[in-house]
C-alpha cells in the first residue's frame, strides 16, 4: 500500500513538472513562431500553386491568341492527323494522345484537366502536374525548375513552359558560351 502511494505521488510530481515544462517551452517558442508566420503567410484557401508573396511567370505569349477567334466557329476534329494549319506544333510528348487531352474542345481559350475542370493557360502547371505529380511537388518545393528574386523573400517561379515546350517537352540543345582561354593564351597585352 505504502509502495503504491509512493508511486502515485511520484507520477503526480512528474506530470506536474512536465506540464510546467511544456508550458514554459511553448511560451518561449511563441515569438519565434509568430515571426515565422509573418515571414511566410499560410497558404490561401483556394490552394494556389505557390505561396502568396511569390509569383509565377505567365505562360509564354502565343502567336494566335485568343484561340477562340478562329476555333469558335470550327467543329472539333478528333481524328489524329498531320495538322494543316499549326505546322509549328509537332506533338512529341506522349506515345499516344491528341490535342483534346489538354485543350478543351468547346472553349479553346481554356485548358482542361482530367476531371473536366477548365483552367487558365497561366495555370498550366496544374495540368502538367496531373501526370508529373512528383515533379510538380518538386517544383513547388523549389528543387525542380528555376526561381529568381529573393532567396529569403519574394521570388518568381519560372513556369513549366519557360523551359519546356508543352508539345515537345524534352530539353533542346543550345549553343554553349565560349570556352575559357587556355593558360598558354593568357599573356601580357599593352593596354596603354
Amino acid at each position: 500500500m505504502k509502495k503504491m502511494k509512493a508511486v502515485f505521488f511520484t507520477m503526480l510530481a512528474v506530470a506536474a513538472l512536465s506540464v510546467f515544462l511544456i508550458q514554459s517551452g511553448v511560451s518561449a517558442q511563441q515569438p519565434a513562431d509568430q515571426a515565422k508566420k509573418q515571414q511566410q503567410p499560410k497558404q490561401a484557401a483556394a490552394k494556389p500553386l505557390v505561396q502568396a508573396p511569390d509569383t509565377v511567370t505567365p505562360a509564354p505569349k502565343m502567336a494566335f491568341f485568343p484561340c477562340s477567334q478562329c476555333h469558335a466557329a470550327m467543329p472539333a476534329n478528333k481524328t489524329e492527323r498531320a495538322l494543316a494549319f499549326h505546322t509549328e506544333i509537332a506533338l512529341k510528348h506522349m506515345p499516344a494522345g491528341w490535342c483534346f487531352n489538354c485543350h478543351d474542345e468547346k472553349n479553346r481559350d481554356k485548358l482542361k484537366l482530367a476531371n473536366g475542370d477548365l483552367i487558365d493557360y497561366n495555370d498550366s502547371a496544374k495540368l502538367c502536374g496531373q501526370c508529373h505529380g512528383a515533379t510538380l511537388k518538386e517544383w513547388q518545393d523549389g528543387v525542380h525548375g528555376k526561381r529568381t528574386g529573393m532567396w529569403n523573400g519574394k521570388k518568381v517561379y519560372e513556369n513549366c513552359l519557360t523551359c519546356h515546350d508543352q508539345h515537345q517537352p524534352a530539353f533542346k540543345a543550345i549553343k554553349p558560351l565560349p570556352a575559357p582561354e587556355k593558360p598558354e593564351k593568357i599573356i601580357y597585352k599593352n593596354k596603354k
Binding site: 587556355k182 593558360p183 598558354e184 593568357i186 599573356i187 601580357y188
Partner: protein
Amino acid sequence: MTTALINFFKDVTNIFKGGPKYYGLMGILIAVVAVGFGAYYMQADRGLIVTAMRDQVAWGFYIANFTFLVGVAAAAVLLVIPAYLYKFKPIKEVVLFGEIMAVTAISMCLLFIMVDVGRPLFVWHMLPVIGTINFPASLLGWDFFVLNGYLAVNLAALGYVLYRYSQGKPYDLKVLLPIVIISIPMAFSIHTVTAFLYGAVKARPFWNVSILAPRFLASAFCSGPALMLLVFQALRKYEKVDIEDKAMFKIAEIITYALGINLFFLFVEIFTDFYANTLHGESMHYLFFGIDGKTNLVPFIWTAVVLNLIAFAIMLTPKYRYNYKTLNIALVMMIIGVYIEKGMGLVIPGQTPDTLGDLYEYMPTVPELLISIGVWGIGALIYITLVKFALPKIRAAKNFEH
C-alpha cells in the same frame, strides 16, 4: 671600441682588394644582378603575367629555387655538429664559411619569396604584432619564424666569432655553444617546416606524403655540403685559405651517406605511387613519363635520376671520392640532380595536373629566368663580400690557439 671600428673598416676595404680576375668576376655578377633588376622592374610593372605561372600552376621556378636553397641553408648545421660538439678540429676551421653560406642561402630564400609575391609592398602584413601573421595555423607563418630565426642565429654566431677574432681573442665556447646548440634544431626545423609547407597541402597528393620532410633533409645534406665543398676548393685556390683535406673528405663522406638515403627515399616514393597506381599517382606519372604527350619535365627528371646515380657510384668508391677531379664531377652532378629533383621536380608536378584535372605544362619564361639568375647573382655577391670581410680576421685567428 674605436679599435673595433677601425678594424671593421679595415676589413671592409678588404672587399675591394683583389686581382683583375676578382674584379672581372664581381663585374659579371653586378651585370647579372642589374639585368635581373631590369626584369624585375618589368614584372613589377606588368604583374606576374610575365612569368609562366597561371592559375593551374600557381607556384613555379621561384618557389622551386626557394625550396632548394632552404636545403643549402640547412646544411650548414652539418658542419656545426662535428665541429663544436665532437671537436673535430679540421671541420671547425671551415665552419665559419659554412655559416656564411647559411646566411647567404637564407637571404636568397627571402629574396625568392619577395619576387614571387603578387603585392610585395604589402608583405609587412605577415609580420607579427604590426601585421596579422596567421600563426600557428599557416605553415608559411612557421616558415617566417624559423627562417628568420635561423638567419638571426647564424648571424649571431658569425658576428660573435668575428668580433672576438677582431679583438685578437679566441671565442669563448661558453657563449658560442648555446647559440650553436640552438642552431642545430633550427636547421632541421627550417627544412622540416618547408617540407610541411607542401606536406600540409591535402589537395595535392604528390606533396601530401609523410616522407617529404625526411626526403627534404636527406637531399639537403647532399646538395648543401656539395656546394660548400666546391666553394672551399675555390677559396683554397684563390684566397689561399688553409682548409685541410681531412675536413673536405669528411664532408664528402657524409654527403655520400646522405645521397644514398636520398636515393632510397626517392625509390620508396616511386614504388608506392607506381605499384599502387591510384589516381593520386597522376603527378608522379606526369613527372616520369608525361601524360597525353605532355612531357616537359620527363627529360629533366631522368637526367636528375641518372646524375644522382652516377654521382652516388663515384662517391661510393673511395678511390674516386678521395680524388678531387672525380669528386668534383660527382659533386656537380649531384648538385644539378638535387636542384632538378627538389626544385622543379617537386613544385611543378604537385600542381600538374591541377586539382580539377587541367594539365598545363609550366616552363619558366625568360623574365622569370633572368630574375632568378639575378637572385643567384645577389647571393654570390653576398657570399663573396662576407668572405672577403671575414678573411683577415680568420687569418689572424691562426696566430692564437683555441
